[in-house]
Amino acid sequence: MRPDAPLLDAKDLVRRYDMRRGFLGRAVEVRAVDGVSLRIERGRTLGLVGESGCGKSTTGRLVLGMETPDQGSVSFEGQPLPSPGSAAWRAQRARMQMVYQDPLGALDRRLSIGTQVAEPLEIHRIGDRAARVQDLLRAVGLRPDQAERYPHELSGGQRQRAVLARALATEPALLVCDEPISALDVSIQAQVMNLLVDLQERFGMGILFISHDLRAVRQVSHRVAVMYLGRIVEEGEPDAILQDPAHPYARTLVSAIPHPGRRVDRIILQGDPPNPADRPSGCAFHPRCPVATALCARETPALKRRGDGRLVACHLAHRDEALPRKAA
């Protein structure tokens, strides 16, 4: 462990799948993740935003080492990720935990909450389990007596708290949360977002917060990366991106946020999210982009740093840093 190294440093991750189109079709190579680099500091949260199929969940699994990238590298606390299944990998699993969208699916229905929170303590041989389970349940806002309950006896929000308690049992340095609130009711989403921020203040872990909801991402993240079709198209401070998105896709996402009392002229994109198996040439966003030029169809824009420190992958955003506001 090198204390000066970032907690997590992922470079140029590529993950390909063979996808069969239809029942009898030929296998097509799909690049679910196509050259993603990201970095998470201790005690900080990176929000990863994008629509379904953009590769954000695959990215989450890659940085956790649950999948091996076809190209690129992940280093955790300055060390490369050990190969899956090895002893070193198992030891490191305790330092990195995952929280999924569906808490009921993530919990074992036949075991009490207490047993499930104690499980990682047993696997990683951490002593004084009973007291530790009580502390963890209190930390996530559950009562210690709820350790006796079974998942179906808890509400959706309480279940997600239980999942968080289990993830925190091994004192992870990194938490990857994949759409942790989207299955929850609005009033419960707020509770879980507050909890995540609290827990980070207390335990200082780094968080990768994967979501399709820019509002939620802004609420919990220190930096935001916007993904489109396997690539990061914009990365920066949440407020900077929300107030002045540079990439046309980011701008669309921001304008799509439904917000009470703010009727803006919304950018309505034409067409469906593209099929990763049928990736457009050049900039993958160009067929739906309101400001695309001929160059965009030919050349893939690189993710480059702008003058203000923001990373943007767009030919136009770099050419003139202030695009016409409403080109749509």
Binding site: E51, S52, S155, G156, G157, Q158, D185, V186, S187, I188, Q189, A190, Q191, M193, N194, V197, D198, H212, D213, L214, R215, A216, R218, Q219, D239, L242, Q243, T252, L253, S255, A256, I257, P258, H259, P260, G261, R263, R266, I267, I268, L269, D272, P273
Partner: protein, 326 residues
């Protein structure tokens, strides 16, 4: 609402196996208006309209009154209901992929509604189906008539659902979480489509959603539901400026802001009560930060602030509002 309502629900109740799901809904939709129904899962916002159209399973016990025009729908003969469903009131649902029949072509699912409500058949029905698919913005509509639902994206399937709904020229479209299963950019497309269709056809819209933001953009008026009751009803701007019910205030406070400093969200503590463990008084009282001892005694009556704004909360009653600090 000065106009005679298009659809009126009076004291609508629904119970499943003895557990109440709706506990008395009084609600009216005027011709051509867009009204939202907001609430968390299990609050009864979908059940309300499924019950009104007689689409709940047989084990549901339904009470109260549902009228369209002057016609009673509850207990009406099947033939009457079948004319209303898809003819006067159309409904679309959350998950477009599973709401379309996987073994029938898109075209035949549209023409079926045309045959039922407009007596069209053959080439005329097919031509009208193509026009409807064009109207809802499906590219290459003529070819899409012969496609199956699995060959279309989620957003396109929702457009097909809307085309089917339009086929009967309904006076009211009930859209039950129409964008929840869709991506953000597609959600924007569908909301935009619903708004423009409403302008073109003049039909009324009931938009059921868990998302206050979505409702705020698409509707003029909102009803907030909690545990089987409407707890507040107001024009959209009024609701956001001066929500009277603590639950509505809580829902608004739970939305992460898009600007300003980041603070902990004003989350509503606890969770929605289960139908078999309803509090005796106000169902929201156990989670309410402004609760009074009277809140636990009986469900609060609906207090009317003005002609358009009402809330079922003791603190919202004008007499009390003076004496109790907010």
């Amino acid at each position: 609402m000065a106009e005679a309502p298009l659809v009126a629900l009076d004291g609508l109740t629904v119970a499943f196996d003895g557990q109440p799901a709706l506990r008395g809904i009084d609600f009216a939709v005027a011709p051509g208006e867009a009204v939202g129904m907001v609430g968390e899962s299990g609050c009864g916002k979908s059940v309300t309209w499924l019950a009104a159209l007689g689409l709940l399973p047989a084990r549901a016990r339904i009470g109260g009154r549902v009228r369209i025009g002057g016609q009673d729908l509850l207990g009406a003969p099947a033939a009457v209901l079948e004319k209303v469903r898809g003819g006067r009131i159309a409904m679309i649902f959350q998950d477009p992929a599973s709401s379309l029949n996987p073994v029938h072509r898109i075209g035949s699912q549209v023409t079926e509604a045309l045959a039922l409500h407009r007596g069209m058949g053959g080439a005329a029905a097919r031509a009208e189906a193509k026009r409807l698919l064009d109207q809802v913005g499906i590219p290459d509509a003529a070819r899409r008539l012969d496609a199956y639902p699995h060959e279309l994206s989620g957003g396109q399937n929702q457009r097909v659902m809307i085309a089917i709904a339009l086929a009967g020229r309904p006076e009211l479209l009930v859209a039950d979480e129409p964008t929840t299963a869709l991506d953000v950019t597609i959600q924007a497309q569908i909301l935009d489509l619903l708004a423009s269709l409403r302008r073109e056809t003049g039909m009324a819209l009931v938009l059921i959603s868990h998302d206050l933001g979505v409702v705020a953009e698409a509707c003029e008026r909102v009803a907030v539901m909690y545990a089987g009751r409407i707890v507040e009803e107001a024009p959209v701007t009024r609701l956001f400026d001066a929500a009277a019910h603590p639950y509505t205030q809580g829902l608004i406070g739970a939305l992460p802001p898009i600007d300003g400093p980041r603070r902990p969200l004003a989350a509503i503590p606890g969770g929605v009560p289960e139908p078999w463990a309803m509090p005796p008084g106000c169902a929201f009282a156990p989670r309410c930060s402004q609760r009074l001892s009277a809140c636990d005694i009986a469900a609060p009556p609906t207090a009317r602030m003005d002609a358009l704004h009402s809330a079922a909360c003791l603190r919202a009653a004008p007499a009390l509002r003076e004496s109790v600090p907010a």
